[in-house]
Amino acid sequence: MSVQSAKYASKSAIGVSRVRRPKEGAGFGPPRKAASARRFSRPTTWGGWAILAVCCIAAAFMLVPVYVIIATALSGGTSAPSFFLAFPDRPSLDAFKGAWQQLHGSLINSLQITVPAAAISCLIGSLNGYLLSKFPFRGSNALFTILLVGMFIPFQAVIIPVFQFLNMLHLQGSILGVTIVHIIYGIPITTLIFRNYYEGIPSAIVEAAAIDGAGIWKTFTHVMLPLSMPGFVVAAIFQITNIWNDFLFGFILTSPAAWPATVSLNNMIGTTTVNYAQLMAGAVLVAAPTVLVYLFLGRYFVRGLTAGSVK
């Protein structure tokens, strides 16, 4: 009996959660899928080749803008290549130097906003998710649904009060102010992700801890948090991408000294003569962090994506 329970527990530890159950969620990589893939591509060999060909063409098409960014960025200091699909004759990194000069300050701002905002909203979300999944109280589901609305509102509908509120606290225009705002509006989504994640961890663990005399807090810090790593990775990636890519809050709630990278990049268009090579190099710099996160941790990225949808 105990062996079986231990197996369940360790399964949760590697991240089997509600989100990953094939029925409901991401389900990338359950063994079943491989079988069904074989079944469909089996009928005729040329059919399989046709599918492959279509996929290759579609993928190449999807990558055209990515190629355009890189080719243009490498085209050097002054002018872009005349034809937008031509690769520059003499690729150079000059444009990156210029873009870095214009953007490095705001890239650091973005970093200063993103890291604490993502970390704190994840911590709060994990605590909430734990409570909602392991200690549901009367009305907790309804309250959770009310909380979730905050995930979907257009932020324009609250931006004036937020602006005035930060003004009242003398935080308007500062990095701290926009960080706090990101934390607060991040709570619904992180709570959702962690709630789904913790539902995959057997309640028996919590009950056992309770019998051993651990209260809500102690169970959280000593039992749940050590099992939470995969949940934190998913939620953190989701929050890091969202906050890094934000534009609205960044533009309205910060002064030029605290502008995040997206705002500074957008302002590079505003100048009368646009240096396209530099603009594209800037786009590469702004996109790089989230793209790298996606390329290296794609699995978790997708899981966050599917966790972000209410079922």
Binding site: M1, A6, A13, K23, A26, R32, K33, S36, A37, R39, F40, I51, C55, A59, M62, P65, V68, F84, L85, L131, F137, R138, L143, T145, L147, V149, F152, I153, P154, Q156, A157, V158, I160, P161, Q164, F165, I184, I187, E207, A208, I216, P226, T241, N245, F247, L248, T262, V263, Y276, M280, G282, V286, A287, T290, L295, F301, V302, L305, V310, K311
Partner: protein, 332 residues
């Protein structure tokens, strides 16, 4: 990170009442959850209420609010609804949403079906399709703006293959299918139809989000029980029949999710348009998000009224979806 071992046999021997999930615990859980709920309540519901009040007030701009109610009641709404820009915004956002949803959802479904059945390189294709989703709308906008710029990008190519007057893309003020000849009456100040300039933006948005739909559909495809497909094959169903009668019906939940989440993205669309074209000539690419953003420096009341209309539209879609999720949870 070793998981605690639980002797469940021992656990079962105890009467359920001693497992401390009682009144005290639940009060404590409520207490810990309360701050998040209160903060969200303030920042979402109270702030929306304040925005609503501002939309009814005389507060134009600045830090010293003029909170007297505007007379007659709700006059700001009347004022903006009659504007050419307001009407253009909602024409644009409706067309944007409709075309974008079709492109992204159908595109995502087709991509998922192909990628699900491709023999090799599955994860590579998945990665490529979802890559744009990792980008900021501003980055996407900057890139597509250049590709669709009238004198660079794609038009250089079109000129090279002999097209003398390539399209102006986002700078084109024309409206396809515009009702010109008929006098539609004085309250309507715009031409109904499809603004040409909106199409490149829709295209860019679909490029960015088609991977999201694909990911949802791939998750749905992976959850279809293998036995169903096998049984159908044994019964002699061909690939098309299996797709039509087994796969597509089971993908319905993924479609609903995509529909709601993408619709909500489309209604809120803002950064992408800012980076690609702004308002455009004659507001052909203006959207409510940009309207609000522009009036944040001059007319709080107008910006608030517009924001509330936009919020209403969004909630019209999202609230039924959230309630559906809540009901399902209760049943489960």
């Amino acid at each position: 990170m070793t998981a605690p071992v639980i002797d469940r046999a021992w656990l079962r021997r105890r009467p359920a009442a001693t497992i401390p999930h009682g009144v005290k615990t639940s009060r404590r859980a409520r207490l810990i959850f309360a701050p998040s709920l209160l903060v969200s309540f303030l920042f979402v519901y109270v702030f929306i209420g304040i925005t609503g009040y501002i939309s009814l007030s005389n507060w134009k701009v600045g830090t010293s609010p003029d909170l007297s109610l505007r007379q007659p009641f709700g006059a700001t709404y009347g004022e903006i609804v009659g504007e050419q820009r307001f009407q253009a915004d909602y024409r644009n956002v409706i067309i944007f949403t409709a075309v974008f949803l079709v492109l992204a959802i159908v595109g995502g479904l087709v991509a998922a079906l192909f990628i699900h059945h491709v023999a090799i390189g599955k994860s590579l294709f998945r990665t490529v399709f979802l890559l744009p989703y990792a980008l900021s709308f501003i980055v996407t906008g900057v890139v597509w703006r250049w590709i669709f710029a009238p004198s660079t990008g794609i038009n250089v190519f079109l000129k090279a293959i002999g097209i003398q007057n390539p399209p102006g893309w986002t700078t084109d003020p024309s409206i396809v299918g515009a009702v010109n000849s008929i006098d539609i009456g004085s309250p309507l100040k715009i031409q109904l139809g499809i603004p040409v300039a909106l199409l490149p933006i829709i295209f860019a948005a679909a490029w960015q989000l088609v991977g999201f739909a694909m990911a949802m559909y791939l998750a749905g495809l992976a959850s279809i029980p293998e036995e169903h497909l096998e049984a159908a094959s044994v019964d002699g169903a061909n690939a098309w029949q299996r797709l039509r009668h087994i796969v597509l019906p089971q993908l319905w939940p993924s479609t609903i999710t995509c529909f709601v989440l993408l619709l909500h993205v489309a209604l809120k669309i803002f950064d992408l348009v800012v980076a690609m074209s702004g308002s455009g000539p004659g507001f052909v690419t203006d959207v409510p998000g940009i309207y609000i953003y522009n009036y944040l420096t001059s007319r709080y009341d107008k910006a608030s009224a517009m924001a509330l209309i936009l919020l209403g539209l969004t909630l019209l879609v999202v609230v039924p979806y959230l309630i559906r999720g809540y009901r399902r949870e209760r049943k489960a």
